[in-house]
């Protein structure tokens, strides 16, 4: 039963999620998001990487309608997000669900998991008998014992708390799952289990994922396509495999090179950047990355590069992108 959303005209052709030149400006000067454009088709798994302050979480909140964009257009299945929220706010919340960063913190400590899991059904005034039956099926599917329902959030492990959060999201039969750091704070022995589960659920429930993570390994294993952000802008977007094989933006290259490997044969040459991500209050002129870029040129200090298509589904915001064969500037 997926009919929660009433399709807008042309919705079948429009991408499920479309950002067109979206900016979010605080206090008239802090550009937390700066001209962000991308599209996500139904059934895709898209990863979003970048360091703190790059705008990843802000982007998720704007997509979820929790923060209003200052400029630009956001469309969900062809319908403007603002119109969709005005027309049918609960319907949109059923269509798009967010898994928050701190799974345990997002569960009220004073409610039992049964009440927490039934809460979405009540908020959305869904038939309880049917909803409860669905909850039990999902509980089983997520590998949670039925006894979990009678526990409080502090009585379950970190991995189980994530599953409860997923349970709360899936009981509404969403189309879109926005997962903000789904494995942060999880031990490596349970991280794989959660990623396998997320992969399976994607197939079984025909979901579309936007996965935010600072863990590059997670993004590489889970996603089809990756968006790299720096200081509120998209600097590179590419099929995940191609990006990890040969990043084209110098920042993406540096970020990917920091991924330590236990296998000496697979270790990359580390690219050590100077300094840290600058403040979005006073971003650098020209290319926002020029203050830290290893191959900065005069032009980069003056002129901001556009996010340009470079073929094979890749977009890069750099005057001198790295070539695939040499890793040097073209």
């Amino acid at each position: 039963m997926r009919g929660a959303a009433v399709s807008a005209p042309g919705a079948e052709r429009a991408p499920l999620i479309a950002f067109d030149d979206v900016s979010l400006v605080y206090d008239g000067k802090v550009r937390a998001l700066d001209g962000v454009s991308f599209a996500i088709e139904r059934g895709e798994i898209v990863g979003l990487v970048g360091e703190s302050g790059s705008g990843k979480t802000t982007l998720c909140r704007v997509l979820m309608g929790l923060l209003p964009a200052s400029f630009g257009r956001i469309a969900i299945a062809g319908e403007p997000l603002a119109a969709r929220l005005a027309r049918d706010p609960l319907g949109f919340r059923r269509q798009a669900q967010m898994l928050k960063q701190e799974a345990v913190a997002s569960l009220s400590p004073r409610m039992r998991i049964r009440a927490l899991a039934e809460e979405p059904l009540k908020i959305h005034r869904l038939p309880m008998t049917e909803g409860r039956a669905r909850l039990l099926r999902l509980l089983k599917r997520l590998g949670l014992p039925e006894a979990t329902l009678d526990k409080f959030p502090h009585q379950v492990s970190g991995g189980q708390a994530r599953r409860v959060a997923i349970l709360r999201a899936l009981v509404l039969e969403p189309e879109i799952i926005v997962a903000d750091e789904p494995t942060a704070g999880l031990d490596v022995s349970v991280q794989g289990e959660l990623l396998n589960l997320m992969r399976d659920l994607h197939e079984e429930f025909a979901l579309t994922y936007l996965v935010v993570s600072h863990n590059l390994n997670v993004v590489r294993r889970l996603t089809d396509r990756t968006i790299v952000m720096y200081l509120g802008q998209i600097v590179e977007e590419a099929p995940t495999r191609a990006l990890f094989e040969a990043p084209a933006h110098p920042y993406a290259a540096a970020l990917l090179s920091t991924n330590p490997s236990v296998d000496p044969a697979r270790r990359r040459e580390r690219i050590i950047l100077k300094g840290e991500i600058p403040s979005p209050v006073n971003p650098p002129s020209g290319c926002r990355f020029h203050t830290r870029c290893p191959q900065v040129a005069e032009r980069c200090k003056i002129e901001m590069p556009e996010l340009r298509e470079t073929g094979s589904g890749r977009r890069v915001r750099c005057h001198f992108p790295l070539t695939e064969s040499t890793g040097r500037t073209a």
Binding site: Q191, G192, P260, S261, R270, L273, E276
Partner: protein
Amino acid sequence: MTDASPLVSIRKLTLDATTESGPAHILRGLDLEIGRGRILGVVGESGSGKSTLASALLRLLPSNVSRLDGEIRFDGIDLLALPANEMQAWRGVRIAMIFQDPMTALNPLFTVGTHMVDVLRRRFPELSRREALARSEAMLVKVGIADPHLRLKAYPHQLSGGMRQRVMIAMALSVEPDLLLADEPTTALDATVEAQIVALFDRLRQDFSGSIVFISHHLGLVAELCDDLCVMYGGAIVETGPVAEVLRAPRHPYTRALLDCEIEDGDEGRLATIPGEVPNPLSELTQCIFASRCAHTADICLERHPPLVAMGQGRQAACIRSAEVLPCEVLP
């Protein structure tokens, strides 16, 4: 190991803490050596006891610790037998520590200069304030801080996260400790800044003659930075040895399983996991600590927890079935 005698030799280190549900066994009789001038990486999942091990080395323990037994011999002196005032004289002098979160480890009311002069003059009482400041400035340069003169006058909140961690490292190294404890020193940092700090550690070890204990949950990081490896599980050490050899051919099934969970370039298919839950710290050690999650558990594993035994040059593992389930490769 270059010097035959280790800097620190830990024997049967046992630590219990009082909880509402009874005594929790946080460290279950650790035996460990820290070689001179070596970087020892301590890895393990949450609750494995790796941070408590660092706290025990400094004897900075929470008040609910009900039992602390065993020996920590530091150059022959048992730290656990020292009176409290003598132990205090070791902290920040022969043993220094870098904490995980540099924001909470620095006092927001004092400048970087005050922090650095304080630790320096405690360590070297003969230094004047001016000399200590000069030395601090030189140290900030060493850890890669630009405009050190200005930074000495800055308060912690005026520095970025990476800069604060550099200040912590400068403070710890300025006292020229014999042993530096670093508890997840890069976990709170962004990836590109983490890479900078790891490169800094790598560079600093050239002129630092002491030993380092580097605690991390990140196996890849430890593999790149450390000489030796200590793998902890449920408050016990399950394997130790030179890092490259342990990772190439682990002798304990838990180390093997942890390695399998790492996501590597080019891997395909489903991800490996370790089914089950970490052992309950309240339970007594009546069987192998890893038995409930191990893929190779046999009856013999349930009889008692096996001790760490030597398995090849400089290597130890606590697995009774090691030779059988993780057969040694024959080296060419």
